[in-house]
Symmetry: C2
Subunit: 136 residues, 2 copies
DNA sequence: TCTCAATTGCTATTGCTAATAGCATTTACA
DNA sequence: TGTAAATGCTATTAGCAATAGCAATTGAGA
């Protein structure tokens, strides 16, 4: 038994998440995106007129940390900050952003499929519900 | 639907792991330990005469990053570096380290139980096998 | 309608974790 | 025995998240 901790749910969860995040980061790197940036892109594409704060609340990213993240996406020409009123802005995908989102979706759906394929069939359908029960 | 990403296995995995790690960190903080430190303590306690490199290989912590971690544990009087030969040292728990390990085990087993309790019964037994299939 | 609390977007800073590159010494194998 | 591999370490870096604080704007209740 090379790893006496692997029967602990918390440990297994951490190791699986680390491995997964590393692989996803590798797959997104060719698109010039980090995982957090890709999530923001997906969220901004899913619903219009969301503010930075709203996206941050959904993803559990604090307002302060959304700023440099959105700056990078804006500098890359993928999103725009479109004023809603004098205080807030909507995060809107540019044309290039929508194109990039399509690539992100291709990468992530292939990734999620590969991920699930590694899980034995009899456990597979239980994974997402079990995980979501842990934090939602 | 507050979170359109939560059906993605990778996303659910990341969110669950983050929530879990945060909670475990909070529970270990009163012992003066971080999660990584507690794992090293558990591993060093599980088998004797392991070197820093061996522990690092099991936990996927690089040699370079084991150094400050073990320094902290040593400064706290929980482990000792006992020379095996002129190159390697065994990481050995001190008396205080064995005592601390008992506290760590109490915290983690309570934690793991609480974790599993949040998972609906019909998914519960599938969680650890599914997670381990993702990285082992 | 006026006031005050809450919200927004931001700056600046910090700590933790992990990654990289490099180095001297020691060990193990062929 | 000679060479490749391993060990423990230093030093540095990048990414990510957390905190504190601030000016301006908005919104809700009196």
């Amino acid at each position: 038994m090379p790893d006496p901790l692997s029967q602990l749910p918390g440990y297994a969860l951490r190791r699986a998440a680390n491995a997964m995040m590393g692989e996803l980061a590798d797959r997104l790197a060719p698109l010039g995106l980090r995982v957090a940036e890709a999530s923001v892109l997906m969220l901004a594409g899913a619903r219009d007129n969301q503010t930075s704060s709203e996206i941050g609340r959904i993803l559990d990213v604090q307002r302060a940390n959304m700023v440099p993240l959105l700056n990078r996406l804006e500098r890359a020409g993928l999103v725009e900050r479109v004023p809603i009123d004098r205080k807030s802005s909507a995060i809107v995908l540019t044309l290039a952003g929508r194109q990039k989102l399509r690539e992100v979706e291709a990468v992530t759906s292939a990734f999620e499929a590969d991920l699930l394929a590694r899980v034995p069939l009899d456990h597979r359908d239980h994974l997402v519900p079990a995980l979501n029960a842990l934090w939602r």
